[in-house]
């Protein structure tokens, strides 16, 4: 029973998956350690990706723009060539393929569902070329390892990550009382805080506006965060390939007051540097933060607008374990099973991955080779194209609050049409011909408690539209 559980916290069961004997054990085993990667394509580190990003940006800005200033077409051609050599059309689909491969073919779909959740919670909005080069490795290198630690570590690691600092402009923030500001004022220049990152840390990542912070809290949060920035290179002004470090001369000295709590710094860099962690430590223990994030988790994995009896056990697990993510995740998993009869609307990408996993659609290419000299093949570009068609690319959220998790935002005539049309294309192109009647019955038996209802509905469709009927059904859209 409760087979919708495997879609609620995973991507459904494929023809090769056995129905687990103990659903909770099956799921919790996946979140206790870093799952082994099943990815068989090329591997790149975040650092390498930042170098590609830097090469793309600075070759364009410092070389091509000057070299081809007289000729629009020459400039366009040269820029395209640069895009090939830096993998500009290659890396985004490559990282999406890895993401999808772990979800569809991996043995830890539950871990990856949680990774997708946190990736959206700590969203990197579409801005310059980060979605091409950096968001994928940021998810795998920064968020994934922290999911095995404390929520405090996760928030902290994300906050000082290159991706988030770069995305929310903390390098542009200068403490008004910092040494740097002093030097600048001597030269008649004013130094300003950039409140972007400080505000989003409060609003989106931890306590949410419900905690009742005001502009002074935002300013003090930004002052605490000042100094966390791209390591300055004196000769160059490059940022894309420069790691983050704490620079005391940009940091505003205390005291600070955030949400009624006062923080004092003692003399010295180490005290200044540790201030951010101290504040985050308190933020993730704030009752509104615990409620806000637990609610968001339940809204994602259990049902939309969950009542407090669903959220409470997750909050309890958070408080009792003092923020251990494994324990929090386990509590969410248990609620997802307990309330598996409640429906939750699945966002387009999750639905797509469930479609691919459950139908065993031939989605992945045989290799991911690329020559860095020409436009990548259509096959390589597939994930970007498909996600664009569905209107939901996880690497390209338009706002720092990530993609919506509500049915009303995703269910419109066009969004529904895109899903239906996408299955129809796969069917028309004969990519689902391996699914005969008995295969289809097996998928239904594995994934649905109301097997006979589902089969009855599918069987009322004509043969060529049976698979379309299943995957566009209300049971797949809402799980």
């Amino acid at each position: 029973m409760n087979k919708s559980f495997y879609r609620k916290i995973g991507f459904g069961l494929s023809a090769n998956d056995n129905v687990p004997k103990d659903a909770i054990k099956w799921a919790t085993d996946q979140i206790k350690a870093m799952p082994e990667s099943t990815w068989n394509g090329p591997k790149y580190s975040l650092k390498e990706m930042m170098n590609f990003h830097g090469k793309y940006n600075y070759t364009d800005r410092r070389v091509l723009r000057k070299k081809h200033k007289n000729n629009r077409q020459d400039y366009k051609d040269a820029k395209n060539k640069l895009k090939y050599t830096t993998g500009h059309f290659y890396f985004e689909p490559l990282w999406l393929y890895k993401r999808h491969h772990e979800a569809v073919n991996g043995s830890s779909p539950v871990f990856h569902r949680f990774l997708h959740f946190w990736g959206n919670h700590f969203a990197i909005q579409k801005k310059n070329a980060m979605y091409v080069y950096d968001v994928g490795p940021y998810h795998f290198e920064v968020i994934a390892p922290a999911m095995l630690k404390n929520i405090e570590d996760l928030v902290y690691d994300v906050t000082i990550s290159w991706a988030m600092i770069h995305n929310l402009d903390n390098s542009k923030s200068i403490g008004p009382n910092s040494l740097r500001a002093l030097k600048m004022s001597e030269r008649g220049r004013s130094a300003n805080l950039n409140e972007n990152h400080g505000r989003e840390l409060l609003e989106l990542h931890t306590v949410s506006p419900r905690a009742g912070y005001n502009q002074n809290d935002v300013i003090d949060m930004s002052r605490v965060m000042s100094g966390w920035m791209h390591k300055k290179h004196k000769s160059t002004k490059k940022e894309e390939n420069v790691p983050i470090s704490f620079q005391d001369d940009y940091h505003d000295s205390g005291p600070f007051e955030i949400l009624g709590k006062k923080y004092k710094e003692s003399f010295g860099t180490s005290s200044s540097k540790s201030m951010l962690r101290k504040v985050i430590k308190d933020l993730v223990r704030h009752p509104i933060c615990i409620d806000f994030v637990s609610r968001k988790l339940c809204n994602h994995f259990v049902t939309e607008n969950p009542p407090s009896e669903i959220i409470q056990p997750v909050k309890d697990a958070w408080i009792k374990s003092d923020g251990e993510l494994k324990i929090i995740h386990e509590a969410v998993i248990k609620q997802a099973l307990k309330y598996s009869h409640l429906k939750k609307f699945q966002t387009p990408e999750t639905w797509l991955l469930q479609f691919i996993r459950m139908s065993s659609l031939d989605y992945f290419p045989s290799n991911y080779n690329y020559d860095f000299k020409s436009k990548p093949s259509r096959v390589i570009g597939k994930p970007v194209r498909w996600l664009r068609n569905l209107g939901h690319n996880p690497y390209r959220p338009l706002q720092p609050n990530g993609w919506s998790d509500y049915e009303a935002d995703w269910m419109s005539p066009e969004f529904l049409f895109r899903r239906i049309g996408m299955i129809k294309v796969q069917q028309d192109k004969k990519r689902l011909d391996h699914i005969d009647k008995s295969y289809l019955k097996m998928i239904v038996t594995k994934n649905f408690d109301n097997e006979s209802d589902v089969l009855k509905y599918i069987n009322s469709a004509k043969n060529s539209e049976k698979i379309l009927a299943l995957f566009s059904s209300k049971w797949m859209l809402k799980t």
Partner: protein, 381 residues
């Protein structure tokens, strides 16, 4: 009176049109359905290239390699980029205006923050999570349809809007559609979406592949001229960020202006008589630096210009409180200054097109409560 409407957006990126109230139900038949169209110019449109200041030769001097010589005449102070020749025709019919030296109150030159603010209508980046047009539509009690995937922030309101965007995808068989109708019956939101999807007009179901601006503008215009058709549309044109090879008449910026021009022309053409009850306005995040850079382009700036077309304009004019472009007049010594908060132009346009008092829109849509009302300066009430 209960008024049901739909609207939708299309674009080259995206178009949204909002639907009209069914005016046949209105007692006073003299009240015409009015349309509002916004064309977002992403990347920062160079107001000084689109509408150059020609009163003296300052611009020629500081932009020797990108100044356009064969501009179209507007008046003794300003001319128009030659790629805007269709817009110029509209000007000669007394149905085009320019608001110059204007911008949203944002001067920090980041595209991301700037585009966020031009759409949200706020003053602090990312603080507002909805768009000024979406909120305006909500205030006017309209329901919307965005022609984009996903919907631009500009159109986001509290109420969800419908959306549409051309694709190559096709619907299943009629028998499958019938099955799905009854299958979705128990799911309120899905059912409503599916019903809307299957009752779309043919114009939205055919020629779906053609995503070119001219075609999207034609679809939008044809839908909007109907009495019960959409009332608001949003388009997007990308690529105004010309740091290099901006060029003169045939340069990259000129090519982009041509796209805007085609959109104006295609809309005017397809709207027909309804053009007289329409306002079309451009929207960009900021202008570009006065002086050309060493890549024959321009850097991010501040003040820019708004191009407006449509029969609801009072007359053809360049409306400006011109700050001048001598060194001492410039913002931070480098950019055309902004002397008009562009949001007052948009708020005035919404007031005219939605028949909602300016003050009410100002209070409910924008965080700054004292925008100047430019309605009688620019538009025909």
């Amino acid at each position: 009176m209960k008024i049901s409407r739909r609207y939708f957006t299309v674009g080259s990126a995206s178009l949204l049109l909002t639907a009209a109230s069914p005016y046949k139900l209105l007692a006073n038949n003299s009240q015409k359905k009015k349309n509002l169209i916004v064309i977002m110019l992403r990347g920062a449109m160079d107001g000084l290239s689109a509408v150059p200041y020609i009163h003296d030769n300052t611009l020629q001097k500081v932009r020797p390699d990108i100044f356009v010589n064969n501009n179209l005449k507007l008046n003794s102070d300003f001319s128009l980029h030659p790629k805007l020749n269709n817009f110029h025709k509209i000007w000669t019919e007394n149905k085009a205006s320019i608001v110059h030296a204007t911008n949203i109150p944002y001067n920090e030159r980041s595209h991301f923050d700037g585009q966020n603010l031009m759409e949200s209508g706020g003053t602090v980046p990312y603080k507002l999570k909805t768009g000024w047009l979406g909120r305006g539509i909500d205030v006017a009690g309209l329901e919307g349809l965005s022609i984009s995937l996903p919907m631009p922030l500009l159109l986001r309101g509290e109420i969800n809007h419908d959306n549409f965007y051309p694709s190559n995808l096709r619907m299943p068989s009629q028998s499958m559609i019938n099955l799905m109708h009854s299958h979705y019956n128990s799911e309120k939101i899905i059912k409503k979406s599916f019903e809307k999807l299957t009752s779309r007009p043919l114009s939205m179901m055919s020629g779906r592949k053609n995503k070119r601006l001219a075609n999207l503008a034609r679809i939008a215009g044809n839908e909007m001229k109907k009495d019960d058709g959409p009332r608001v549309a949003v388009f997007e044109v990308f690529g105004f960020d010309t740091h290099a090879a901006q060029g003169g008449a045939d340069g990259e910026h000129g090519q982009k202006l041509r796209q805007v021009d085609i959109t104006f022309a295609s809309l005017k053409n397809s709207l027909g008589k309804a053009f007289d009850n329409t306002l079309i306005l451009t929207l960009t995040e900021f202008g570009r630096s006065l002086v050309q850079n060493n890549g024959y382009g321009t850097e991010h700036g501040y003040g820019s210009a708004i191009l407006i077309g449509g029969g609801l304009l009072k007359k053809s004019q360049v409306y400006t409180d011109w700050p001048g472009i001598k060194k001492t007049n410039l913002f931070e010594g480098r950019d055309l200054d902004s002397t008009i908060d562009s949001r007052s132009v948009y708020c005035s346009a919404m007031s005219v097109c939605f028949d909602v008092p300016f003050k009410k829109l100002n209070d409910l849509v924008f965080p700054d409560k004292k925008l100047p009302n430019l309605t009688d300066k620019l538009f025909n009430m």
